[in-house]
């Protein structure tokens, strides 16, 4: 049961990571990479490492997404480099 759940969450990490790379809308890509961090923290929790999961959830998915979005606001309209 735990293995199945872990596999599902890891598949979610892969999918959201791919979306973060492939999406053309930069805000959606940032939210997607934050989702990858959140799912990674779920993985840590399932593997019985709650301390790491807490740090990952707060820093990896929360603060990083915020800083990316503010950096985007400073940098401009979000056009992709070719």
């Amino acid at each position: 049961m735990l293995e199945l759940l872990l596999l599902a969450v890891c598949a979610g990490i892969l999918v959201s990571g791919l979306l973060a790379v492939c999406l053309n809308n930069l805000v959606a890509a940032m939210v997607s990479s934050g989702l990858a961090g959140l799912l990674a923290s779920v993985t840590f929790l399932l593997l019985a490492a709650p301390d790491v999961a807490m740090a990952e959830a707060a820093i990896g998915s929360g603060l990083t997404t915020f800083i990316f979005i503010y950096a985007l606001r400073h940098a401009g309209n979000g056009e992709r480099e070719p």
Binding site: D51, M54, A55, A58, G62, L63, I67
Partner: protein, 230 residues
Amino acid sequence: MIYRASVLFAVALLGLIFLRLAGGYAERSALRPLAEHYVSQAPLELGVSNIVTGILIAYRGFDTLGEVAVLFMVAASVGLLLRKEEAGRKYTEEGRRKPAGEIVTTGTQVLLPVILTFGAYVIVNGHLSAGGGFQGGAIVASGVMLLLLADPGTRVNAAALSVIESLAGVSYVAIGILGLVLAGGFLDPRFLPPGEAGAFISAGAIPVLSALLGIKVGAELSVIIDRFGR
């Protein structure tokens, strides 16, 4: 075309590295000798219930100090790099900055006290349950982040936070030196009595160090967020 090819090449190289890593992986049935030592000795030596915090603050205290120093350098350089454009932007930006919608504002009013209380709980209970200074500080900073999202006009008092953060850092090192004088070495928390395992006041100086770490990390991350939010 060359761009695409070089990206694909880099991804293939990364995949090769991870393939080698994953290929040599086998699940262990027993702990490594060092981990075994920590798991069996940490509750006895330090009186700490959460072994991870014990390792982070006592056995690997110097590493933690280095981590916090790196975070301090990041906060200082972010402040330095983002300060330049401040004077020019002040007037143009103020006009088009408007608060977030009703849902985010109300949600922030409900959630912010809960988030800050939870952060403080995680910081002070680091030696008993999962968490500790680093995690709790990050949670407090994410509360500050929510505040800035709800009302972008809010300003964090960066000068006061810098003073608080420096005081926490100085006290951290001072307690470390106290450990050097009164107990086994630098950042040795055993100069205070270990107390009863599982009690709130226990584990020597670990709760004090954890609280100082939480204050320092929370203040540093808040300053970084505030700099980006401008």
